[in-house]
């Protein structure tokens, strides 16, 4: 028996090997190497001097770092609740029996297949002044007087709105599918029973649908928080982090430090700071999930 098991394990290992090799070489090893980098002055080409914990001391005091982290946090706060609400709403719409059911499903999912660059440039074209879609429509319906323009991309708060809208539109598809499949798994009998008892649509949504969606919603929320903390590309393309770095997320700062200032050691330190933050968040979520699971 034992030999059989070992053989099975060996076989499994053989099949896993190609992945493990790549994973080890390009994920695990660089992560270890990254830790080493934080202790050195390390340029784009070479290891320079050992500087101990200097980078860690620097990162804790660096205003730019905390500002960038704050911007990433703003992005998380802006996109996570809206994403969950939007995803549930779209799932509800697409779940209703109607002729357009299939159309809705593809409509809501299609943006997800775009690459980040395509989605962001579409956002740019839609929101740019003079020729952009939004301003043109506003001009057309006379909400915006002749000669006036709304500068969506260069005003800080408007830029955040644009970034949030583009991100929601572009990434909601995947969460929408998760919510839709969860909705479809809710047994019809429960709804029937509720209707017989005279429950209103409102009550059905709040007391049945939403609680049944809770587990998947928790997962989506967690994934969304982690993914949002790692935001970079759409902001980089849409605002470049501006105006005056006021929308620059932490990943952009890491990128600029590493590849524009050639300071890989410090960039690695910031990456690990972000890593720790995400780790704490994940642990918190895990702990809360477990507690809830035990209570149910």
């Amino acid at each position: 028996m034992k030999i059989k098991k070992i053989r099975a394990d060996a076989q499994a290992l053989l099949f896993l090997l190609p992945f493990l090799l790549v994973y080890g070489l390009f994920t695990v090893w660089p992560m270890i190497k990254g830790v080493e980098m934080t202790f050195y002055k390390w340029t784009l080409i070479k290891k320079m001097d050992f500087i101990g914990l200097d980078h860690y001391r620097q990162v804790l005091r660096d205003r730019e770092v905390w500002e960038a982290l704050w911007h990433s946090a703003i992005f998380v706060v802006l996109t996570t609740p809206t994403m969950v609400a939007l995803s549930i709403s779209l799932a509800l719409i697409a779940n209703r029996k109607s002729l357009l059911q299939k159309f809705y499903r593809s409509l809501f999912f299609i943006p997800s297949v775009l690459s980040v660059a395509v989605a962001s440039y579409l956002g740019l074209f839609v929101f740019q002044p003079y020729t952009g879609l939004v301003n043109s429509i506003l001009h057309l319906v006379r909400l915006l007087p002749e000669g006036a323009e709304i500068f969506w991309l260069t005003e800080k708060s408007l830029a955040w709105i644009v970034i949030t809208l583009v991100t929601l539109w572009w990434t909601v598809g995947f969460n929408f599918i998760l919510h839709l499949s969860a909705i479809q798994e809710i047994p019809d009998e429960i709804y029937e029973a509720a209707r017989l008892d005279g429950a209103s649509d409102n009550q059905i949504f709040w007391k049945i649908t939403l609680p049944y969606l809770a587990p998947i919603t928790r997962i989506i929320t967690m994934l969304q928080i982690i993914a949002s903390f790692k935001v970079f590309m759409q902001i980089y393309i849409i605002t470049g982090g501006g105006p005056l770095d006021q929308t620059r997320p932490i990943i952009q700062l890491i990128y600029e430090t590493g590849f524009r200032k050639n300071d890989l050691g410090y960039a690695a330190t910031m990456s690990y700071l972000l890593f720790v933050i995400l780790l704490v968040l994940s642990a918190l979520q895990y702990w809360m999930n477990n507690r809830k699971g035990a209570g149910m």
Binding site: P30, I45, E149, D245, I251, F259, K261, L264
Partner: protein, 425 residues
């Protein structure tokens, strides 16, 4: 996305560690008499085609040397060059902007050329002194400049005529002074339909910064850092005056606010004048129905000066230091500079005054109208932080001034702090 950036960081770190073993730099060497050279360039579009034409012509006329041109994407060029040279896989010949040179020298990416230039018989005095000086660091030549691409002014001939501002000689009628230029723009604004932009200019980053740099230098400002390159030293009064002048151009509505595409604005004939680098000349020429002229930017303040940079040819550090290759490489570099008339097709000003006298150059329109600018280009001091100061400090802060969210005085104060911080890092 994010993951990609991190992966890149990691894989770069990896290749940096593993690089020591991979000793072969580029193919072929001096055996069999023919020297084969790898050449990395960052040019695309018209520039890319012109450089390829030069390489082909050189290979044809030099049977004992073969240059192989590899075109890299501009945005990642320097990162790739630095990492490749760092792990011993760099090219034999490379391109660098003059402004990038000090950083590359500091990182040990480029070699000095004095010895090999002497062997190959390169005559440094045949270059424009202003361009050449900017490539000399600590008394050593590090690069062969092949052009300069300064900030100049273009004008739409039809629109200027319509506004009555085109002289008999086909040149704009404008008094070269601070008031003169504003009057010129005011007339354009009054005389031309409201849809026409008097002055097409980007609202952010490069071009308005270049205008500011030009005016700051015209006032006598001398870069943002001290001569010993260690401290921020902005001539505040001059910086404020230049920024204030430009901010007023934005506020007065001469420049279209947040123009999403100022190139297209001029290209489609809806802007009377525009300022940008000379590389636009080739683009305007190939635009149908665009009647335009080119000239140095006006002397708005005390002395003529403009922003500019140069493309230079460099010999990156290689593992073998093959003398035959280096000699062939600098021969190529010098030959490219000698044949600047081909390179000038895109609009650049050749680096050797002798090229300006060639009939092929003189036959091309527009270029001669602004070739004199080469001597008034105000280059940066040779600081390794030049690009960082520009990208992370000047651009960002001045953008706020153009958007009227910061006063010129506050901007200079912030820049002084930002420059110092960048220098200290």
């Amino acid at each position: 996305m994010t993951v990609a950036a991190l992966l890149m960081a990691f894989s770069l770190a990896l290749s940096a560690c593993g690089g020591g073993s991979g000793g072969e730099s580029s193919s072929g060497s001096a055996d069999g008499g023919k020297v084969s050279l790898s050449f990395w360039t960052l040019f695309d579009g018209g520039d890319g085609a012109n450089m390829q034409a030069l390489v082909d012509e050189f290979n044809k006329t030099h049977p004992d040397i073969e240059v192989k041109n590899t075109k890299l994407v501009w945005a990642e060029y320097y990162t790739k060059l630095i990492t490749a040279v760092g792990n011993g896989n760099g090219p034999d010949i490379g391109i660098s902007h003059t402004s990038r040179l000090p950083d590359l020298i500091n990182q040990g990416v480029v070699t000095d050329l004095d010895a090999v230039a002497e062997t190959a018989g390169v005559d440094w005095s045949s270059f424009n002194q202003n361009l050449l000086d900017a490539t000399v660091v600590d008394g050593k030549h590090y690069a062969v400049p092949i052009d300069t691409h300064p900030f100049i002014m273009y004008y739409n001939v039809k629109l200027l005529k319509e506004a009555g501002l085109l002289g008999e000689d086909g040149k704009p009628v404008m008094e070269q002074s601070a008031e003169g230029f504003v009057d010129f723009l005011q007339t354009l604004k009054e005389k031309l339909p409201a849809k026409v932009t008097p002055f097409a200019l980007s609202n952010t980053n490069d071009d308005p910064y270049r205008l500011w740099w030009s005016l700051y230098s015209q006032l006598g400002g001398n870069d943002l850092i001290s001569d010993d390159l260690t401290t921020a030293q902005i001539d505040t009064d001059k910086g404020v005056e230049a920024a204030d002048y430009i901010q007023k151009l934005f506020k007065a509505g001469y420049i279209k606010k947040n123009d999403p595409d100022f190139y297209k604005n001029f290209q489609s004939g809806t802007a009377a004048i525009m300022m940008t680098g000379v590389w636009a000349t080739g683009t305007w020429e190939s635009t149908k129905d665009l009647e335009f002229g080119a000239m140095p930017i006006p002397k708005i303040f005390d002395q003529e000066a403009t922003w500019g940079d140069s493309h230079t040819i460099i010999l990156p550090t290689t593992q073998k230091d093959d003398e035959a290759k280096r000699e062939a490489a600098i021969t190529f570099a010098n030959w490219v500079a000698d044949n600047g008339q081909v390179w000038a097709k895109a609009g650049h000003i050749p680096s050797k005054p002798s090229v300006l006298e060639k009939p092929e150059f003189k036959e091309m329109p527009y270029r001669s109208d602004y070739a004199s600018v080469a001597s008034t280009v105000k280059f940066n001091k040779p600081s390794v932080k030049t690009a960082q100061i520009r990208d992370n400090v000047s651009f960002k802060i001045l953008n706020e001034v153009w958007a009227d969210k910061m006063t010129p005085a506050a901007a200079m104060e912030n820049m002084q702090k930002g420059v110092q911080k960048t220098l200290d890092e």
